[in-house]
Structures are given as structure tokens and as C-alpha cells.
Amino acid sequence: MSPAFAEAVAELPALVRAHLLLSGSAVGIGVLLGLPLAILSARHARVRTPVLGLAGLVQTVPALALLALFYPALLIVGRATGLAIPALGFLPALIALSLYALLPIVRNAVAALQGIDPGVLEAADGLGMTARQRLTLVELPLGAPVILAGIRTASVWTIGAATLATTVGQPSLGDLIFSGLQTENWVRVLTGCAAAAALALAVDGLLALVESGLRHRSRRRIRLGLAVLVAALGLALAPDPRGAGGETIVIGAKNFSEQYILASAIERRLRAAGYRTERRDNLGSTVAYQALAAGDIDVYVDYSGTLWTNILRRADTPPPEAMRAELATRLRERDGVLLLGPLGFENAYALAMRRPRAEALGVRTLDDLTRAAPRLHLAADLEFLTRPEWRSVRSRYRLRFAGQRSYSPTFMYRAVADGSADVITAFSSDGRVAALDLVTLADPRRALPSYDAVLLAAPGTDRRVVDALRPLIGAITVERMRRANLMVDRDADKRTPAEAARWLDPAP
């Protein structure tokens, strides 16, 4: 078994449990909410039109966007009410997926109730059934197969969509898919996809068994199907078999290889100090900081320039030490966030070109680029074009490209390698800068701030956690970080982030 596969398989049990619990709860809430809505809708056209319309509208929002929307929504609700509402993780994922499950459940249940033979309903009324007796004795039993078919559809959709919960910091099988995509570790991607598909097929099969039991009035099939489903949910709910003991520290990571490697290194240090750890990978840049400030995650690595421009909204570019010192003070005042110190390397945004192309055009600095840009295409990562750094670079150098597109980092490097882009927003610590023979363009007008990797901890983080992580401060040079990144990003002899972390910080 390859190390990547072994690693993915080792993560599977915990991820399957989390995935099952999340999608099971979401479908459960969908049923509890959807059935009463459907009963009201079937009886009153005035309820039906808005309910089906709204559920349909929710369905048209891409699942990824729906999940992402609940993070700021819950933050606002939390602030407005003063309640400690967790904005990251299980809750936003649960709300979004429950809403998503609603449409097939409501639509099928309404169709089921409206499709009942009117003669049967007239007989029920004529025999003296109350509205409730008619519902429980006639309408629900007769509608059950169609209602259950809707629950089946909702379950399959929800299990699929639950892989996206990873992006709001809720562990799911999406963890394997997203981190695998970022590091081009296809074994992880396939393991995650296969596990999610297997889960969906298994649940669908069990619900199909219950459905056929309802159609053919076989109590045995109904009981068997439900028993296995309940047992699976019970297992997912049961306390972690690895046992309790030790406090759990939640480590955040954004969505690129360096972040996974550093999160693994942090994880190794904390485990060596006796802590249990959980990961929240693939967080968006501002989501990660807000999650830390809110205490949803305990520790993660960010970059001084990012915090400076995105969080403090500053446009000036002081020298690195001064920037770090001011960040430490301001972040503590503002959010109580602790800046534990720099890791020792910088991961700056730098515009980069392939060396032969840059030399042919005579471009060495951003001033040179201003001349050449109107004939060149820019490939940026997903964030850069919306960041203040881009506005600053563009205005200070009056850059106008022939075209600009956003890519996920992996594909951005591909674009410059295959010539579909001339200039990319490279990262200075990225192993691919050297591997692809890219030159980073000098920034004489200091439009880009420095991006020292800094270790951040949530307000009130325990002293012992800080001590466990202290050996990482100042310990990672840019050369070592580049090599670790390349181990994960290269195509041949690819390593997992955990393996790279072991190489980067072998001590613990």
C-alpha cells in the first residue's frame, strides 16, 4: 500500500463518521421540517406556492455558495444576539444541508398527498374520520412510498453535498477530496470520492429496501432497512473509539500545500505534547482569521502582509519587523488574537514569469512589466485579483494586461508552464518557482508588503500550547519550506503533506 493511500485510509473512519452524522442530521431535520410543510402545502395553495418556490430557490444556489453564506450569517447573528453561536463547522454545514434536503422531501410529499384517490378521501370523511385520523390512518400510509422516494433523493444529494462542508471547517469526506485536489494527490481524491459514493449507494439501497417494504407491505424489509440505518447512525454518534483524555486543539489551514504541511507540523508538535488534535483544512483566507478570533479554531499560520491589508486594512508597507510588531499589538487589542512569532520564511506574492520569456522581453522589474503588460496574459490565484495588494500594484505601476484569469494555485502554475499565461502571481516559498525556472520580478516601488509566515493562536490559548509550539518559531528557512512544498507539489515521487512535515520538522 502506498503511503498516500495508507494515510487516506487511516483518516477514513473518522471522516466517514463525521460525514454520516452530518448528512444524517441534515436529512433528519429536512424530514422534521419538510413533512409538516408538505402537509400544510397539500391542504392550502396559499402555503404551497411560497414553500415550493422558496425550496426551489434554495436549490438553485450552488451548494458551495450556500455553505459559505452561513458562515458570515451566523457570525452576524452571534454578534447581534450576543450568544456564543459557533459560526464554523457543524452548525453552518447542518443548516445549509438541511435547507438543501428540503426541496425533494417537500415536493415528493406534496405530490404524494395530492395524488391520493379523491374517492378514498371522501370515504374517509364520510365515515367520520377527523382531519388527524385521516392523515395518520389514510394519507400518510398511502403516501409513504412516494414520500420515502423523496427522502431517498434528499439523502443521496445530501451525502454528495456534505463533501463541501469541508470548506466551512466541518470534517467530512470532502477533506480528502479538497486536500487531494490542492496537492494533486489523486489517491486521496479518489479515496474520498469512492467513500462518499459508497456511502450514498449504501444509504440509498437501505432506503430502497424500506420503500419496497412499504409498497409490498413487508414489515420484515422495513425493519431490516431501518435497523441497519439506525445502527450506522448510532455508530457515528458513539464516542470516538480512540478514547477521550487530553484536551483537543483545533488546527486551521487554508487551501494550499504549504498550509497543509505547516498544519501537520503543528499537529505533530501538539500530539507530542499530549494533546488531541483536530484539523479544519481548506478555510478561506478571511474565514480562517475570523474563525480564530471567534475561537472556532485554536491555531493556524497566516502571513503578515495578508493580515496587514485584509484585517487591518492598511495600504502602507513598513519594513517586516515593524509590521510584525504592530500586527501583534493591533490584533491583540482588536480581537485578543495572539501572534506567537514568525516561522522564519516569507511567502510573498510576487509576479513571476518563465525565465526565457522574461529575458526575451527584457522584463526584470514591475516597472519593466508596465511596458510589456498590454501584450501579456496574467494568471492569478483565486484571491489575488480581489485583494488590496492587486489594487496597490496596479495603481503604482499602472499595469494593464491583455487578459487576466483566476485559477486554483496548482492550475495557475500549469498555465504559466504551458504558455497559456505569461505572468503569474507566484508565492515566494513555492517549490515550483525553482522547479519551473521562474523569475520573480522586483518591486522597486514597494507596492507589495512583506508576507512573513506567522503563527497565530486564539484568544486565551493555554500557555502550555504556546510552549509546545515555540520550537517552530524562527525554525523554518525559505529554502527548506520550498523543498517541503515541492515534495508535495511535484508529479514524480510525490509525498503527502504529513510526510513533508516530518521531513521539515523531524524533532517531535
Partner: protein, 245 residues
């Protein structure tokens, strides 16, 4: 003794009067057929009695009690109701269908075998589902279900209208026998004048929401009202043509 009294019943359906001042008194034990063209208000009148339709004005009493003063469920439990579409519950067995009203009232009385025998169905039908039965057998179960709580009044809305002529005839006669044996009071809506003439003791003709004739079958045949004559002439001419063959 008066089993059913209907007074000055009016009901409008979207501006058009469905019932336009109907009054009717039915003695206990009578078998009354309600006939008339489509849309004449027969079904509206029938459904007003068990309050599936609420009339605009007028009063209905059963055995001297105003139906509006009784809880609607209890009122319906005490009235047998049989309809053209039969309306057996497809997810319940024949026995469960027959026992549904005793189950609702909580009487717990088990008369399934007795009722099956009453409607001349084999006892082993109890465990079957409605889809395994022919139309005639299903309506026999429908009648048994209506009789389960020992009602004194039966309301039947074209009960045999969807059955083939042979089944229809035999089931009609079988029901008439049951009516006499159990001492029921029956109000039956029908389209079929011949059925009404042959089964009922009394025929009420409704036209445009008003009673146009109310008499014994023999009296109806002698009616001079042109609309009523037009209705009764149909089976009579059919019988004459059949005899001439």
C-alpha cells in the same frame, strides 16, 4: 316515526342555486330514491345530511336531533355512507376496512365475519386486499363497512353506478333485502330511473334544486309533469322495444 326531516334547505354554488328551498320528511324504514338530471342537487342534498356540505340556510334533523348540534365525527359514525367510487382503503385488508368505524369510535366490536356473511362474501375474504376483489365484491365490502357501526340511516350516492348491469341488478336486490331485514332507513341517489322504480318505496325527483315530484313508483309512472314524464318514459320505451323483439 320520522327518521329524517329536512326544512327549507338552500345552498348556492358560485351564484347558481344547487338547492332552492328543499323540504323533505322521511319515515323510519323507508327506502327513498333521489332522482333527477345531472346538476339537479341530488348529491348536494345527500351530503348536507352528513355535513360533507354545509347548506346556506335551512335545517336538518335525524331522529329529532339537529345535525348541526352534533359533533361532526359522531354524526358521521352513526350514518352509513356508500359512494359510487367505493373508496375502500387500498392499504388495509377487507377486515380492516370493515372494522374502520368501530376502530374510530373505540367500540372495539368485531363483526367482520358477521358482516361478510350479511353481504354474502366468503369468510376468507377478510385477509384480502381490495385490489384482489372485483368491482361488485368491493362494493359489497363498501356496504359492509357502512353497516359496521349499526347505523339506522344509510346514505348512498349512486352506489351501484360503476358496476356492470348484471352485478348492478343483483347487488341492488341484495341491498334491498338487507334494508328490509335490518330495518334501515335508506336515501339513495341514482341516475337510473329503472333502478329507482324497482328498488324504492318512494321516489323524489329533483330538478334545478327543487322537488318536482315525490311519490310512490306507481304514482311517478302516472305523473303528468312533462319533465318527469320525459324521465320515466325512457325505461318504459326501452322495455316496450325489448318486448317487441
Amino acid at each position: 316515526m320520522t327518521a329524517l326531516r329536512i326544512e327549507k334547505l338552500r345552498k348556492r354554488h358560485g351564484g347558481r342555486p344547487a338547492l332552492d328551498g328543499v323540504g323533505l320528511t322521511v319515515e323510519a324504514g323507508a327506502f327513498v330514491a333521489l332522482v333527477g338530471p345531472s346538476g339537479s342537487g341530488k348529491t348536494t342534498l345527500l351530503k348536507s345530511i352528513n355535513r360533507l356540505v354545509e347548506p346556506d340556510t335551512g335545517a336538518i334533523s335525524i331522529d329529532g336531533r339537529d345535525v348541526r348540534e352534533m359533533p361532526v365525527a359522531a354524526l358521521r359514525h352513526g350514518i352509513g355512507y356508500v359512494i359510487q367510487s367505493i373508496g375502500l382503503f387500498p392499504h388495509m385488508t377487507v377486515a380492516e376496512n370493515i372494522a374502520v368505524v368501530p376502530r374510530l369510535t373505540g367500540s372495539g366490536e368485531d363483526r367482520v365475519a358477521e358482516l361478510l356473511e350479511l353481504v354474502a362474501l366468503p369468510a376468507d375474504f377478510a385477509g384480502r386486499y381490495p385490489r384482489e376483489l372485483s368491482g361488485g365484491q368491493q362494493q359489497r365490502v363498501g356496504v359492509a363497512r357502512a353497516l359496521a357501526a349499526r347505523p339506522r340511516l344509510m346514505l348512498m350516492d349512486e352506489p351501484f353506478g360503476a358496476l356492470d348491469p348484471v352485478t348492478r341488478d343483483s347487488l341492488g336486490r341484495a341491498y334491498r333485502a338487507l334494508h328490509d331485514r335490518l330495518g334501515l332507513t335508506t336515501l339513495m341517489v341514482t341516475h337510473d330511473i329503472a333502478e329507482a322504480l324497482l328498488l324504492a318505496d318512494r321516489i323524489v325527483v329533483l330538478i334545478e334544486g327543487r322537488i318536482r315530484a315525490d311519490c310512490a313508483p306507481a304514482g311517478l309512472l302516472a305523473s303528468t309533469d312533462p319533465d318527469v314524464r320525459a324521465m320515466v318514459d325512457v325505461p318504459r320505451r326501452q322495455a316496450e322495444r325489448l318486448a317487441a323483439l
